[in-house]
């Protein structure tokens, strides 16, 4: 067949679709196909250049980002201006999920390290979906709640370990 005609009639490969990618992300791995297609209509795909700021500490946060391609650096900035890297993330990693449900300021900054495509999921879209399709919204939120509580659990455990190791640092917090 002619290449031109072949291109026109070629179907979009399933592996290239956004829904397929979202299913491959660990957070949404448990979603069924229908919920994944719902999610696809909900997210925003944003393209970033290398070294572009995604958000800064103190920005109003309203959602989470999943990395589709590229690399992202999450860092803290001290008042003196020095930066400390918190994490370096690659494809299928996600960040910023703590502001998805409750409005809060960003507690760290994030920037891209190379040309990056991010998939953003925001609070306004989730609440809108909850009105229209409560079932789908419930399944998506459950996935996110699992991850957030897992992370909270790890943080709790880490705090407990630190408290047992250095009890003197925690004297101030008790009051």
């Amino acid at each position: 067949m002619n290449i031109l005609w072949g291109n026109i009639f070629r179907k979009k490969l399933e592996e290239e679709s956004l829904a397929f990618f979202l299913g491959a992300v660990p957070v949404f791995a448990e979603l069924g196909k229908r919920s994944r297609i719902q999610l696809e209509t909900l997210v925003h795909v944003r393209t970033y250049k290398a070294n572009e700021t995604i958000f800064e500490t103190g920005d109003p946060g309203s959602g989470m980002y999943v990395i589709r391609s590229g690399a992202v650096q999450v860092f803290e900035r001290s008042p003196a201006g020095t930066e400390r890297e918190v994490a370096r993330l690659g494809p299928k990693d996600f960040f910023g999920e703590s502001t998805l449900v409750v409005p809060a300021k960003r507690t760290a900054s994030a920037r891209t390290l190379e040309p990056t495509v991010l998939v953003g999921l925001f609070r306004a879209d989730i609440t809108d979906l909850a009105k229209r399709r409560p079932g789908a919204a419930y399944r998506i939120l459950l996935c996110i709640a699992k991850i957030v509580s897992e992370r909270l659990h790890v943080a709790d455990y880490e705090l407990l370990r630190l408290r047992q190791k250095h009890p003197e640092y925690f004297e101030d917090f008790r009051s």
Binding site: F55, D59, A124
Partner: protein, 377 residues
């Protein structure tokens, strides 16, 4: 001998510069004028092109906001498009039944109104003349002739306008009946997608904030528009019921008029009263029924129902406009779009206020005014 030649070249230079400046300025001004005239021609063209679309788009937007809640509820069962079809079917059935009931009444009322209108306007002129005579007796320096003539010609204009423009407005209403449901359908089905497309144009850095703010503002606007329409409908109904207790004619017209003018705060209710009071004065005279009509308009509809019950429940404090802004909005709207502009000027001003206060609220809640937070403190 070089020194004397320097001023010469300088002079030549400055002359060349002056010439260049002159040419550049002339070209600049000419270009500016050309752009201005073509731009104003373009804007004129756009205005005439969009003038036909303005009213249907506005009505469709308001209708889309009104019908969105039932569509959203039904969407859980049968998908978005299906839900819109079901709601459309219900609305169409309701409208059909309503018109079925209305049209015989309407025709009677309309023909008798066409006969009665000159009587009412003539009576208005008489009242005005009496008022002026009394005023002239007290303040002899007021020149009255001009005012009276204008009032009479205005009344005659109104009567002839109503009679002539009936077929024309029927044509326009036919166009509206076709365009408004179509636009509403697409606003209901694709409104979210259109908004998403607009938001996605925002640069990466501000995208998140724009997205969040747009949703907050849309929610406030939907609340405001629904609240205003429901308020106007209930006030119209209350006036209809109140007037039904008396022998006054054209109860339906008067109630619809009062409901529509109720969309304008402060001034609207007063304007809405005028035809009712006039008809009552001409047909019933000053008596018990007349005072009952005044009480219905003022105390029952405005004070009790609107101010004590509806406004606290339906209208948020965000959309409260200062009376000065209300007057400015009415005048500007009237200047731009006539009577329609007077009615929609205030809601549009409220919309602008809602957008601004929502942005201010957002900035305050994240204290964006003071800049970044200090995590170490």
């Amino acid at each position: 001998m070089t020194p004397p030649s320097i001023p010469l070249t300088r002079q030549r230079n400055s002359r060349a510069q002056a010439a260049l400046l002159f040419v550049a300025l002339t070209a600049g001004i000419a270009t500016g004028l050309a752009i201005y005239s073509s731009a104003s021609a373009f804007i004129d063209l756009m205005r005439t092109a969009t003038a036909v679309l303005f009213l249907p788009l506005l009505l469709a937007l308001v209708l889309a906001f009104l019908l969105d809640p039932p569509v959203t509820v039904l969407e859980r069962r049968c998908g978005r498009s299906g839900a819109i079809f079901v709601v459309y079917l219900l609305v169409a059935a309701g409208v059909f039944l309503f018109f079925n009931w209305l049209i015989p009444h309407w025709q009677n009322a309309w023909t008798s109104l066409q006969a009665d209108l000159p009587r009412y306007t003539a009576r208005l002129t008489v009242y005005l003349r009496e008022l002026l005579d009394r005023m002239q007796a007290e303040f002899p320096f007021i020149d009255t002739h001009d005012l009276l003539g204008r009032a009479r010609s205005l009344g005659e204009e109104l009567v002839s306008g109503v009679i002539i423009s009936t077929p024309k407005s029927a044509l326009r209403i036919g166009g509206l009946m076709l365009m408004v449901p179509l636009f509403t359908f697409f606003f209901l089905r694709d409104g979210g997608r259109i908004l998403r497309g607009c938001i996605s144009l925002a640069p990466n850095r501000t995208f998140e904030m724009v997205h969040d703010l747009t949703n907050l503002i849309t929610a406030q606007l939907a609340h405001f528009i629904r609240g205003r329409i429901i308020e106007a409908t209930i006030v119209g109904l209350v006036i209809y019921i109140g007037l039904s207790f008396t022998d006054i004619r054209y109860t339906g017209f008067l109630a619809v008029f009062a409901g529509i003018t109720n969309l304008i705060p402060y001034i609207g209710p007063l304007v809405g009263m005028v035809p009712g009071v006039l008809v009552a004065l001409v047909d019933l005279g000053v008596g018990g029924q007349f005072w009952w009509i005044i009480i219905t308009y003022f105390v029952v509809a405005q004070v009790i129902v609107d101010n004590f019950i509806l406004i606290p429940i339906l209208i948020s404090r965000y959309s409260n406009l200062h009376p000065l802004w209300v007057i400015i909005a009415i005048v500007l709207g009237g200047k731009l779009y006539g009577v329609l502009g007077m009615i929609i000027g205030v809601p549009i001003a409220s919309t602008v206020k809602i957008v601004l206060s929502e942005i201010r609220q957002y900035r305050r809640s994240f204290s964006l005014v003071d800049g970044n937070i200090d995590l170490d403190s």
